[in-house]
Symmetry: C3
Subunit: 347 residues, 3 copies
């Protein structure tokens, strides 16, 4: 597929500066782009690559336009314009409609005629698959799950019983949605399982990355609101509630029964403890542990940055004596004040 | 299914206060329960919901009984009583006995007649599947694995060669048991794989959460004792030994050859380094790194709590100068002491 | 299979001290070895087990030879010699050549006649499978993926579209290679997906552990060079570049677009932030967060070691006041200096 710069400008809401009929057939990075490719500049780190790019055009912000040696599409949000150009030049492949001969579909499942069920899938009893759903090869969808219109399970996805996906959800391989949460009662030291009867309910336009676990609720439901985006290797525990358009990056985790507001971002490796509540617009830095509720929007951090091992070695043993040091500083302050008072420094 | 409060009291070992013939058919949370539902109060955070509950009955502790507006089951351990009520009202679904037509079972595998093998499963040569085992759709069980009586692989589970599960184990989707550990020798910079020939051996009543990895031993075996409970997204490395009734919460990890005692709890995101030993009854807080052996029962913590980013920014750069600060405080103490001695503050 | 000590010495490049014709049929740990078994000593922690071992022979370093009660193979690198002995005594099982009747292979896929495709696999259109490749049961290989000569997918592996594996790669169950990276543009709060069109490209001799995610590139490719070794539960995000013979231990993660050099080691649970660069021969300690580029080889650490909870409790609240404490110490120093100057301590 090839489109003109003018068409791409209109589709992406950007302003064209250059030859409107120039044909663009692909997207590439600034340093790898060539004839027929459009590139983008959205991260200052890559500004130095702009001047020498061989791209046919570049999507960028007004402030960078003067430095662009080729045609450009100017946008207030170059990364968003880039996303739209990508969507047009690289549409999702259309699966072949119908049920693959090797798939096992229980008789009571309801599969829309426009849906695609891939090779070696299993679709359990009572499952409902709406229009235009694409289920790639090797997926398992257990009893009474519901998959909303236009959703896609790429491959090797498992949806457990009663799981509900909204419309246009995108679930990547290895993800497990609706697995049991970690509910255990203790009887004189031994654990007794608490059956997990809640569901995992995903809104519209939710994306779940590869090998992520979204556990079902214990009694009530685990709920991911519309537009929630979850990266690979993430754990969302039972009864968690996540608000609209909140994004969780790779290896992050939310423990049981916590509520994360809307428009939050949880960076990679961050963790939210159980039974807490985060307001809307809370942003958690990478590898940060949230150990209590956060009622105020803003950025929160607890990352310990790596340092040369020798520096770490001599400093970190001190952490367990911080309190003692504070006390000693206070004592010094008292003594010094007393000295200055002429009392001889006894405190 | 519906049971009377009296029946539930007896099954759960709780004391009934209320109408013994009241019928209960389901469990719900305090704020969502209605007619015919039983609820429970086991976490102080939810006490405020007790007074306004519409549940037909509530399981709770003696101290909360006076505040309960409806019938109640009084227990020393309300959460345990709740677990038992759940088990009765929500029994595990019984799979259809037999081998699904789409499953591939190698001729030398021995499948008990009461077992259930789901759609699209693969059961390798020499595998033994005992009575009442349920293997859900899409599971792969490799050569010579052993699955003890009454165990259940929910779906999409992989058991590698020689893996052994005890009785009544419960393995959730995406879990991989008995995959290779990370054994590498170094030859002038390049890595040479060390074949991993040990096994992963699970005792009775072990539960493994979704997408967790329990690696096989390098030479000896990785061993999880009876009653070990493991949440989603957990990594247990080669040759780890875990004692009875120890529980590992989501995203925790134990590195190679470490031994964790019995009745331990490892909270979410916590990590145990390799080649160390934890005594029985050791409890590790969330996101805490255990970097050496722990010989004494108790709670251990190393969590860095999140803070406002600006607060973090000005404080955490100081971490690499802690040692210097301690030295300066000591120097101040010496100088001050000398001053008070009248020596002029020289130390 | 049994070999003589002399044969093992030659195969492993070690020096034999003992009876050259002694037959060895297996490998065992020092404390579990018996007649016919060879053991090894490569970690000082296990030195105490040497004297009482019942092994027929032990692989060890010169410095330990005098303490060995049985025959030994002396090596400069006992663990490497052990790896070689293991490879000979425990060769990889040879899969049965050919395509299992239950596998689904698209007509346009090219499968070498010497390859093995296991039960319930799916091999998509345009896939190329080279000679001696073994694909275990339950794998899904999507469109146009390429699997180089002698590579092995153990079982339940998913390779997404366009993924390329070099020769002799080893991929463990549950791993997902080439899944979408986390590319999102923001439009007034809502996320807009950025199609991920790059590939995941693995060199020769790459190993990927169970349930790990290696995401495809956004536009350019994610690249793992020859000899990269990755443990279980690891996340490598889009566009990451990893140099030759670098190893990533369990639960580690590298965020998007970062470059890790050759001969690096990233220990368990460590994380590298996005868009940074690590030089060759950088070693990152367990559970350490690398938050900026590292240009110099060496060991880097940021681990907070666990401590008794009460010790933690009184010390860690101080972390958010470190900066204040440093200021107070400076003030004390100024005041004390002034006192000693006879100025009365006003600073």
């Amino acid at each position: 597929m090839a489109l003109t710069l003018d068409e791409l400008a209109q589709l992406s809401g950007a302003e064209l500066r250059g030859e409107s009929s120039r044909l663009i057939s692909r997207v590439a990075t600034l340093d790898e782009a060539g004839e027929g490719a459009i590139s983008f500049l959205a991260n200052r780190r890559y500004k130095s690559q702009l001047k020498s790019t061989d791209a046919s055009a570049v999507i960028l912000a007004e402030e960078d336009a003067a430095d662009c040696p080729v045609d450009c599409l100017v946008s207030d949000n170059p990364y968003l314009a880039h996303a739209r150009v990508m969507s047009v030049l690289y549409p999702e492949p259309v699966g072949s409609v119908g049920i693959h001969a090797s798939a096992v579909v229980e008789p009571s499942a309801q599969i829309d005629g426009s849906a695609s069920i891939g090779a070696n899938c299993y679709i359990g009893p009572g499952v409902i698959v709406e229009a235009d759903v694409v289920i790639g090869p090797g997926c398992v969808v257990l009893d009474n799950a519901f998959i909303g219109e236009g959703s896609r399970l790429v491959a090797s996805v498992t949806l457990c019983t009663d799981t509900r996906l909204g419309r246009r959800c995108l679930i990547h391989p290895g993800a497990v949605i609706g697995g049991d949460g970690f509910g255990l009662a203790n009887e004189e030291g031994a654990w007794v399982k608490v059956p997990q009867i809640g569901r995992a309910i995903l809104g519209d336009d939710v994306e779940i990355g590869s090998c992520s676990s979204i556990d079902r609720g214990a009694i009530g439901d685990t709920r991911l609101a519309d537009g929630v985006k979850i990266d690979s290797q993430v754990h969302v525990a039972h009864n968690v509630q996540i608000g609209e358009h909140t994004a969780l990056a790779g290896c992050s985790a939310i423990a049981g029964s916590s509520k994360v507001g809307a428009y939050c971002t949880i960076a990679g490796g961050a963790g939210i403890t159980g039974h807490v509540e985060l307001a809307d617009h809370v942003h958690v830095s990478g590898v940060t542990s949230v150990t209590r509720s956060i009622g105020k929007p803003g950025l929160y951090t607890g990352t310990v940055p790596a340092m040369e091992h020798a520096v770490w070695l001599k400093n970190f043993a001190r952490l367990r004596h911080l309190d003692d040091m504070v006390r000693r500083v206070k004592q010094l302050e008292r003594e010094l004040a007393a000295l200055k008072d002429g009392s001889g420094g006894e405190a």
